[in-house]
């Protein structure tokens, strides 16, 4: 069975096809990718899809009420909404530096939630 996918690793958005192929080293035959990252993406998408999650957390004592954050690496797609619950229950206090780890090892996934900008205390 072949499956059509769009690679979302970069904005080029290559259209990929993936097919099981037991003679191939990685077990699949993939076409349409421009670079190697497309191959990894296609295999992951078939086996355990993951996504980056950018969102915000509450922040106190800063000039804005929300601080942008993201997962420091893609997280299991099935866990996104559960992770959002944890993130929305979290509040941090300024000052924050870009890259600060705010929530460690979310849901035991080894993925951390990091700040994507700095915010001074006001």
């Amino acid at each position: 069975m072949t499956k059509d996918l769009v690679c979302i690793v970069c904005p080029v958005g290559c259209r990929l096809t993936i097919e099981k192929d037991d003679t191939a080293e990685n077990g699949y035959r993939i076409t349409g990718n421009t670079c190697k990252r497309g191959i990894n993406y296609a295999i992951e998408e078939m086996t355990h899809p993951t996504r980056m999650v950018p969102t915000t957390v509450k922040i106190e004592q800063a000039f804005l009420k929300r601080l942008p954050v993201r997962t420091d690496r893609p997280i299991d797609k099935k866990l996104i909404f559960e992770a959002m619950k944890v993130i929305n229950d979290f509040t941090c206090i300024a000052p924050i530096k870009m890259g600060d780890v705010l929530i460690e090892n979310i849901l035991g996934t080894e993925v951390n939630i990091i700040a994507t900008r700095s915010m001074d205390k006001v």
């Binding site: 958005g13 259209r15 509450k58 009420k65 929300r66 993201r70 929305n88 870009m98």
Partner: protein
């Protein structure tokens, strides 16, 4: 009155990159003027990832991308003012601005770089019949409310327009617990990046209704429902296809327009196709010494391209201040032909072209397996195969200087050639 070498208007990614590049070229007296309370422009509200793959070879969010440039600007000691609105620029490069801290100021500069970005098309521009209740937002405004101010704009949402902002907001609202019922798109194709359709709509089973529009908004105080209707090939609503969606919020993502009131005040000629200044190879406008870059010139979907273009503008402005710019009379023009919406730059002086001349353009339609044909005075000089072309994805062609010189003519044209 302080006199600057270069005044940059707008502290978004375009203004930041231009100022930094000019400084690196040895220009000392540079001032960046920003009307907002901080630098970074629109990037500060674009908290999603997808920025920087070309420039940093890393995938960053908007605020991360902005902060890297803000840090660099600060470390180079470039002056900037915040909460300061530029009101007028004159042809002789005098900049009039106002702020509550400093009042009304007039600043003279040898060169000016326009980097004011763009603004969202408002609902008036697309006229939907019905009431005008609360709950109708431009997608970018809603993005700012949610990501910076922390206001959730609604619970049951319909989105009109499938540009990137609309797609990104569909996912954003879903993640925050809203129900996004549908994204309606007037055209038979989406104006957004394919990856955003996949990761923002398909991932959450949000339907994308192509060739559909919104024909009615109901609700007196707050939106209660909208009517979605299919359109025919002339974009006219088809009777009998009406579907009512109960919702409390309508987001409009119906495009961006370069913000050029200031450019006009300075007498800068505007291109009807891009809605931005007509620029030459050095990103200089029709007024000598006034340069422009970023979304004020043409709407970009990738900030990386904004950075690259703005670096060229900053470098050229520095060259102008140092009086190293060749002001040739021999000018080549670019012409958007079959299938091409526009080309930037519009005018080219070969003396100022480096090894490659970058041409940025958008196609008018979606094409599969097509080719881009570049001609000089009607003679083909280059042909590029393209598996996929779409209006939502900007195309870039680098033409080697030697190739242009070998065919020196009056105009360079690009057209789409469909596969036979």
């Amino acid at each position: 009155m302080k006199k600057y070498d270069i005044v940059v208007i707008g502290g978004g990614p375009a203004g930041l990159a231009a100022a930094i590049e000019a400084k690196k070229e040895g220009i000392d007296q540079i001032l960046v003027i920003e009307r907002d309370r901080e630098l970074g422009g629109i990037l500060q509200q674009c908290i999603h990832n997808g920025f920087g793959l070309h420039v940093f070879k890393e995938e960053l969010t908007g605020p991360e991308y902005a902060e890297r440039f803000i840090n660099e600007l600060r470390s180079l000691g470039i002056d900037y003012v915040l909460d300061t609105m530029v009101l007028e620029i004159t042809e002789d490069r005098t900049v009039h601005c106002v702020s509550s801290a400093d009042g009304y100021r007039i600043i003279e500069s040898q060169a000016v770089i326009l980097a004011m970005g763009c603004r969202e098309r408002t609902r008036g521009a697309i006229a939907i019949p019905g009431y005008r209740p609360a709950g109708v937002f431009n997608a970018g405004t809603a993005q700012r409310y949610m990501n910076m101010e922390g206001y959730m704009v609604g619970k049951k949402v319909v989105i009109l327009g499938s540009g990137d902002i609309g797609l990104i907001m569909a996912r954003r609202m879903t993640l925050e617990g809203a129900q996004v019922m549908a994204v309606a798109e007037l055209m038979p194709f989406s104006g957004g990046l394919t990856r955003n359709i996949v990761q923002c709509l398909d991932d959450y089973d949000i339907p994308l209704l192509l060739s559909h529009t919104i024909t009615k908004i109901e609700g007196k105080n707050r939106v209660e429902a909208v009517t979605v209707q299919a359109v025919d090939e002339n974009l006219k609503p088809i009777e009998g296809t009406e579907r009512v969606y109960e919702c409390d919020t309508l987001l409009l993502s119906v495009g961006l327009i370069p913000e050029n009131e200031l450019s006009r005040s300075a007498g800068v000629a505007i291109d009807n196709a891009t809605k931005g200044p007509i620029v030459n190879e050095s990103m200089e406008t029709s007024v000598e010494g006034i340069f422009a870059c970023g979304n004020v010139v043409h709407v970009h979907d990738l900030v990386d391209f904004v950075t690259e273009e703005s670096r060229r503008a900053g470098k050229a402005a520095a060259k102008y201040v140092k009086q190293e710019m060749a002001t040739s009379m021999a000018i080549l023009e670019t012409k958007a032909q079959e299938g091409i919406g526009y080309i930037v730059p519009q005018r080219i002086r070969m003396e100022n072209v480096g090894e490659q001349l970058p041409l940025l353009m958008r196609v008018r339609n979606v094409y599969h397996k097509a080719e881009l044909s570049v001609k000089i005075d009607g003679v083909e000089v280059k042909r590029l195969k393209k598996a996929h072309l779409a209006p939502g994805e900007m195309e870039r062609i680098d033409l080697p200087k030697a190739l242009i010189e070998a065919h020196l003519g009056k105009y360079i044209s690009v057209e789409v050639v469909k596969e036979a």
